[in-house]
Symmetry: C2
Subunit: 476 residues, 2 copies
């Protein structure tokens, strides 16, 4: 178990929600609701002088009025009420306050910045640690703590520290749809007390966390951050997405979490030198997280590609090659094997293996994938589940399910990294109930259950693969 | 009306499907089914000696046995049967044969390549034009001709010539989900008779086509192609996706449509010099098609961004700037206007306008979008419909619907280009029936109906915008 200060803080016996509310439009409602909904095992104390009861829980006028001890406080009170609340927290021996409360330095106003500093001073005096301010705080499904309505209740092994709360919620939601589950997520906003280095240190020591993700807008102390990054990256994969890379993003960063953003090139060089992986977008961070989460180390760039028709195969090869993978010609021994089985298209088949020519040849994508899996010339395999409106429901459904079953079986038999490509569909209302879409959703679910990662395009799969190959080569 | 040879060919009075079949697994079934399903108005003649009837239609042993005249033939017979069938076609005065039939040059076998050449020779002798071989042929919803099961029945103004049939079907299906409808799509495979230049010429003359898309793996005659491209690009936007860009893609291209791919850089330079737009992926081609389809010319790069929370706003600014847009600071007159309305966060708001700070300020994303729409400092606007699990169903639904209504109203009032960002979700079975997803689908449908384009990320919206800006600037 970790001995980090945050370890105790993240396992509270009791949580008070200051500014709890019955109005569903507020986060004072949300934070209370989540504790109930996600099954927080300790005591829950809503605090608000205007309510007797919130969500069926007895509600206290102030933190001071709570009968038992309080370990952790979630603050949804206005900025002007924080100092008083901290007084109460101090009297109750509270260990940590998560300040959802915002409108401090990020407003650009002097008096708000001064108030923020006073809050820090008072917290330090009372020995109270702060998460935030101006953040969503903690999502720790195992402990029953959450900041979102539709985030998974199951735990996983990805830890995320994010300077953005909304961004973290979107990320968790979308990543969950690709099979990722989280150990814990901490949205930390203005990083007044605990900052990016503390969260990084914590995650690097946390046995529940195998992969660390960070969304950072700015760092307080570059030297300390890169030291922390180096240490963390020595223990597990660390992927860092930087917000505020350009001029306008830097401006937006200042009004979001009052951070100072720096030059992007220097940043990426330092992140890479620290042994961590820089990401350029949420999508890229998600692809990388999915890859580290589900794949074994990828030993090299030689890729086998199956499952697309003619044009999609050509484009898949292009995209893989442009990402730095090596789409090798079909090895001679595979060709001989196919010939020996009497497959009439043995001399025509290649890598990528074009499904549209297989037709009635008695040879399928899955046969090819199996041959590639057993062949030492390939370092990884990419299989395309292509959605084509060229066949009828029954046949498509049957073939697709068979294909998925076979791919999953192959994955169990072979240790070779396997990535699946299934395109995203920007569905409207009409398409929503279409069997083709339902079938795609079913296929995705099957792959998730089988711990096989999928990607919306070959480009994204290949870019992720290349990054992982480089990562593992550097670590050798 | 166009005087191009293809114009008459694409308006047949009668179509025979050679190799029609009752087996749903075959395209001989599919092509017949589509003519019925999409409402082809002329005569439909299934041809197959093994059937009396296909899909309720009287079926003839050979084309020669058809009582009336036959304008157009779709061939799903084996390669070895094509020469005989062409004899029959010649006797019936058939004008054009679409050879779905494949297994010619693309197999890499000499005898197949020789057969292909014999077919061409015989067709020329009989005055029969050929589409294909090795292709899906024509999707022309207005005429009731289709090659896919779930392609839209409504017509639009995008024309696509694609060397890949499966690729074309996927593209039409996915593009339809983003609101695009097609005038006609021609999948042309090995381009034995009609080739990329003919289709390009035809689309450039076709009054039903306002935007031309091409998927090309190789061109027979570079000089003629770039001449045709120059002519076409002078009349309407032409977007060209090249398959077979690298070494492996080139190899795949040879076994797909037996084309010779060339050096990518030279290709892109020539496409741009011809006044057309090179695309690097299906996604990019789709984003560009959506942009040309729905947007007025974008006069410059100064973008206003609304609708995201803190982190997403920062990343949106970064991505827009990296794509070459100019995320200008909020103009002083807008700030003054907001101040004069007594909005307490007037000095904090910026561009992007962070929704997460608006809260109870009485000021919304929509208010900001309206101010930006009326302000001459902005050339285009991007609004984010962000999916955050931070609020309850009722509130989210209400706010989202209100927002969409207001955005649509704004679009009617202002001529300023408006792009929407809504993230794609790789849904599994469980998420499929979730209200959040249904709401997103509803939102997309509303925007499609209002002719407002949407994109899955700011990066993709911004890249498209930049390409359009350059396109319109070059044309000045």
């Amino acid at each position: 178990m970790s001995t980090h200060t945050l370890e105790e803080i993240l396992h509270p016996q009791s949580i008070a929600v200051a500014g709890a509310s019955s109005s569903t439009a507020t986060q004072g409602y949300g934070f209370t609701y989540h504790l109930l909904e996600y099954g927080f095992k300790g005591k829950i104390y809503p605090v608000n002088p205007r309510y007797q009861e919130v969500l069926g829980l007895k509600t206290y006028p102030s933190i001071r009025d709570i009968p038992g001890s309080v370990d952790y406080v979630i603050s949804a009170v206005p900025a002007s009420a924080v100092l008083n609340m901290l007084e109460d927290c101090s009297q109750k021996g509270v260990k940590c306050v998560h300040l959802f409360t915002g409108r401090f330095t990020e407003t650009g106003r002097r008096e708000s910045a001064e108030l923020e500093q006073e809050i820090l001073k008072q917290a330090r005096k009372s020995g109270i640690r702060l998460i935030g301010p101006n953040c969503m705080g903690v999502y720790y499904p195992k402990e029953g703590i959450s900041f979102g309505y539709d985030l998974p209740k199951e735990s996983g092994s990805v830890g995320l520290a994010s300077q953005s709360g909304g961004g973290a919620a979107i990320f968790v939601e979308l990543a969950a749809l690709r099979g990722i589950r989280f150990s814990k997520v901490i949205s930390y906003g203005n990083a007044l007390d605990f900052n990016e280095c503390d969260y990084l240190n914590y995650f690097s020591q946390d046995p529940e966390t195998k992969i660390i993700l960070m969304y950072v807008e700015g760092v307080r102390d570059g030297e300390r951050f890169f030291d922390a990054l180096r240490q963390a990256a020595a223990t597990k994969p660390v992927i860092v997405l930087k917000g505020g890379r350009g001029e306008s993003g830097t401006r937006a960063t200042a009004s979001h979490t009052a951070s100072l953003a720096g030059s992007m090139k220097i940043w990426e060089t330092m992140v890479t030198q620290a042994g961590a992986i820089p990401a350029r977008s949420q999508d890229e961070m998600m692809d990388l997280a999915v890859s580290f989460y589900f794949l074994p180390p990828i030993p090299g760039p030689r890729v086998g590609i199956v499952g697309g028709g003619g044009g999609p195969s050509v484009l898949a090869a292009d995209e893989c090659e442009e990402a730095g993978l090596d789409v090798i010609p079909l090895p001679a021994d595979i060709r001989e094997e196919v010939r020996s089985r009497g497959v009439p298209i043995w001399d025509w088949l290649g890598n990528p293996a074009d499904t549209s020519i297989m037709g009635d040849s008695g040879f399928t994508s899955n046969d090819m994938l199996l041959l590639m899996a057993r062949n030492q010339n390939f370092d990884l395999l990419i299989a395309n589940i292509h959605e084509v409106a060229l066949s009828v429901k029954e046949g498509t459904t049957l073939r697709r399910r068979e294909e998925v079953k076979e791919y999953i079986k192959m994955k169990k038999e072979s240790s070779k990294p396997l990535m699946i490509v299934i395109s995203d569909k920007s569905l409207g209302t009409k398409g929503y109930s279409h069997w083709r879409w339902k079938l795609t959703a079913e296929v995705r679910t099957s792959f998730m259950k089988a711990n096989i990662p999928f990607y919306p395009t070959h480009e994204r799969a290949a870019n992720s693969a290349r990054t992982l190959i480089d990562y593992y080569q550097r670590r050798k």
